[in-house]
């Protein structure tokens, strides 16, 4: 059983704390900081005025791995029994991590030579099973017919292609790892979806990516929402093969854009994707990652801001079965003033070798005054042997922010919840399904795109049939009632 708790922390020397927070690690320039998420309106700006360990700490990174039956939580204000919604964490000190000096210094480049073949020990690759990537990191040509990309767009949407360096391509997404740089190089012609200025779409743009089993594919999609437009773009990945690709998103000033990336791959598929957005002044960007299918899926979702007042909401839902490695890496780079970000990823795991990883990076640079950010990851281990890693990293380089918080918890099914529900007559399989649906409910309801919500719930229902068995006989009536509110998307 692996169980690690590790904290690293960084703080810019140019942003002094007064009084100094309690220092948990031994290096003189490093400070350990943990911010209770439930006090986020006022916690981190409190850096200059608080003294208790819990709220004086300001930034940290924790590394968390859990395998059933161990419950791991970063939340310190839990009541008895596992809880998914408790407060903040206290994790002891360290400085042993081999991270970049700061997340903002990670290499970004269009040159393949800048990203050598990884060994697996690199911070960015250490959670990923490199031996299962099917040669995806080798510099070999992609099969031309590996992916079928079909765009269905409402009237008024421009659909075309972009060569490297053409138009906005390359302005928002710069490759950050070897898979991304290879994908970009192998995609001379990117798919381009542009929502013209002030156009508000009634229905979503649908981009279907179907992978051919046994193939090796690469792709690049550019979504450009011009200023004051409003749109939803759903990118749906199905089929098989080994795929590296990029989704580049440019959200113009004042635009509202939701990008949904559905990973509904066949069992044997491998998919590594960098999805990166530039969020304009006063723009609202929502990125939603739904990962249910595929052998190995590694999706990196990044939000950067091109002006003040932007908002990024990044949601994730994943459900891993035996044999699946589902990895999500979110990064919010706050470099502009008065921007907001809200990151929420929830996952369930079932089966001996089910594996998930969530790395949640948030960087608040010195210029990002008035930032408000929160990130959360919850994992529900449905069976023994599954393993979830959860690593929130929060770096803060200015004391002048509205709030910064995080929560991370990984736990088993709560037997007391089951007892409570069953003691009201609810059969065990219905009770289990109720608990799992409830676990996902808040994130699923935030999706806000009915067609996507329905598909996600249907997919979760199918996973539940595997996890706790289909509900039959008299219990089916109760289960149908139990499923209603979530399916209806009501709170």
């Amino acid at each position: 059983m692996a169980r690690r708790a590790r904290t690293t922390a960084r703080r810019s020397p140019s942003a002094p704390l007064s009084p100094a927070p309690r220092v948990h690690d031994t290096t003189s320039t490093r400070r350990t900081a943990i911010t209770p998420p439930d006090t986020r309106p006022h916690d981190t700006e409190a850096a200059g005025s608080t003294t208790t360990p819990a709220d004086a700490r300001q930034e940290h990174a924790v590394d968390h791995a859990a395998q059933a039956p161990t419950d791991v939580t970063l939340d310190s204000s839990r009541s008895a029994g596992p809880s998914y919604d408790a407060g903040a964490a206290v994790v002891a000190a360290a400085g042993e991590a081999v991270l970049e000096a700061t997340r903002g210094e990670r290499a970004r480049s269009f040159d393949v030579a800048d990203f050598p073949v990884p060994t697996g020990r690199e911070e960015v690759w250490r959670f990923t099973p490199l031996d299962r990537l099917g040669g995806l990191l080798e510099d070999a040509p992609a099969d031309p017919d590996a992916r079928d990309v079909v765009v269905q767009a409402p009237d008024g949407v421009h659909v075309g292609t972009l060569a490297a360096g053409e138009g906005v391509r390359g302005t928002a997404l710069v490759p950050e790892d070897r898979a991304a740089v290879l994908a970009d190089a192998a995609s001379p012609s990117a798919t381009h979806v542009r929502i013209p200025r002030e156009v508000e779409l009634d229905g979503p743009v649908h981009v279907s990516v179907v992978g051919r089993p046994g193939s090796r594919g690469a792709g690049h999609l550019v979504v450009e929402a011009e200023r004051h437009s409003r749109a939803v773009v759903v990118v749906e990945h199905t089929g098989g093969g080994v795929h590296a690709d990029g989704v580049e998103v440019v959200v113009g000033d004042g635009a509202e854009l939701t990008v949904v990336s559905l990973q509904l791959w066949d069992d044997e598929a491998v998919h590594v994707s960098q999805q990166e957005a530039s969020v304009g002044r006063d723009a609202s960007y929502r990125h939603i990652a739904i990962t249910l299918g595929g052998s190995v899926v590694r999706l990196s979702s990044t939000s950067r801001y091109a002006g003040p007042g932007g908002s990024a909401e990044m949601l994730g839902v994943y459900f891993a079965d035996s044999g699946q490695h589902l990895e999500h890496r979110s990064f919010v780079d706050h470099a502009e003033a008065r921007c907001r970000s809200d990151v929420r990823y929830k996952g369930a795991l079932q089966g001996e070798t089910a594996r998930t990883v969530w790395i949640g990076d948030v960087l608040i640079r010195a210029a990002a005054q008035g930032t408000e950010t929160y990130e959360l990851n919850r994992n529900l281990l449905l069976t023994e042997g599954a393993r979830a890693d959860s690593v929130p990293n929060l770096e803060i380089e200015t004391g002048d922010i509205e709030g910064a918080g995080h929560a991370s918890a990984t736990g088993r099914f709560d037997d007391e919840q089951l007892f409570y529900l069953r003691s009201r007559g609810i059969p065990e399989e219905v009770a289990r399904r109720l608990v799992v649906r409830g676990f996902f409910a808040d994130v699923v309801q935030r999706i806000g795109v009915p067609a996507v919500t329905d598909r996600v719930m249907a997919a979760i229902e199918a996973e539940l049939d595997l996890a706790v068995g289909p509900v039959a006989g008299a219990a089916a009536a109760a289960d149908a009632v139990a499923a209603e509110p979530v399916l209806a998307g009501r709170a």
């Binding site: 009541s79 029994g81 809880s83 998914y84 919604d85 709560d414 037997d415 007391e416 919840q417 007892f419 409570y420 529900l421 069953r422 003691s423 009201r424 007559g425 609810i426 059969p427 065990e428 219905v430 009770a431 109720l434 608990v435 649906r437 409830g438 676990f439 996902f440 409910a441 808040d442 008299a474 219990a475 009536a477 109760a478 289960d479 149908a480 009632v481 139990a482 209603e484 509110p485 709170a491």
Partner: protein
């Protein structure tokens, strides 16, 4: 008329890997329409009795029987017991994140009845019961017990008792932690259910206070894992005056 019969019930729990006997031969018979109070000092096994009847997996039955109209309750699963007509109002109700009260109540009702309740009647019943318990209608859309105050949790338990209409309800220290206003509201709720004359109530309490609002037909004094004495309401009055000392020392002497 229904009867819940407990005969020579022995229950133990694991502590530090060793079984510890908590209930040492409980005998109790309660008919529908009756209210029995079970009173006893801390650690006497009152809550163990409640959870054992409900079927909590932490408790191991080592001897005796529990029957509901002759049916073997101990052979039933937790949810089967509830569907047979047993209800436990818990002292520490459990939070269920992401599951709203309204969804929970309707799912439970459907499970008990085998079919979904007619929506219009059901919504009206829920609204009425909530209003009677002075619960804000917004409660229905909150997640089960999540962020509820102690008093809200207890009202929510009694709300379930009113709506799910059990044959026998066991109230495990429903009165503890309530201020007098909340205690009256909760007691009124229990009395509304009792007025139907069909439910049997096993009222487990540490204090006599609730018995002023919910008059029991029978009072059992519970000491060291068994019923030490059974009497009428006047037994509660004696406890009010003199406490448990007489019973505790009698058990210690025997």
């Amino acid at each position: 008329m229904a009867t819940l019969q407990i005969r020579d019930l022995h229950v133990s729990v694991e502590t530090d890997g060793e079984p510890t006997e908590i209930l040492r031969g409980v005998d109790l018979t309660i008919d529908s329409g009756q209210t029995h109070a079970i009173m006893g000092p801390n650690g006497s096994g009152k809550s163990t009795l409640a959870y054992s009847i409900a079927g909590h997996p932490k408790y191991t039955i080592t001897g005796g029987t529990v029957t509901l109209d002759g049916q073997d309750v101990l052979a039933m699963s937790v949810d089967e017991r509830a569907r047979a007509g047993l209800f436990l109002a818990m002292q520490y109700p459990v939070e269920v994140p992401g599951v709203t009260v309204s969804n929970f109540l309707r799912t439970a009702k459907t499970a008990l009845d085998g079919e979904a309740p007619a929506l219009r009647h059901w919504v009206k019943d829920v609204r009425t019961a909530m209003a009677d318990l002075r619960m804000d209608p917004a409660f229905a859309e909150r997640n089960v017990n999540e962020g509820f105050s102690g008093g809200e949790k207890k009202r929510h338990e009694i709300l379930q008792m009113e709506l799910l209409k059990p044959k026998f309800a066991i109230l495990d220290e429903t009165d503890s932690g309530l201020d007098v206003d909340a205690l009256k509201i909760v007691s009124d709720g229990v009395n509304r259910v009792r007025e139907g004359g069909e439910v049997g109530v096993l009222l487990i309490t540490h204090y006599t206070r609730i018995l002023r609002y919910v008059r029991p037909d029978v009072v059992h004094v519970f000491v060291a894992g068994r019923v030490a004495e059974t009497g009428g309401p006047e037994l509660a009055d004696e406890l009010e005056e003199n406490g448990y000392d007489r019973f505790v020392s009698a058990v210690a002497a025997s």
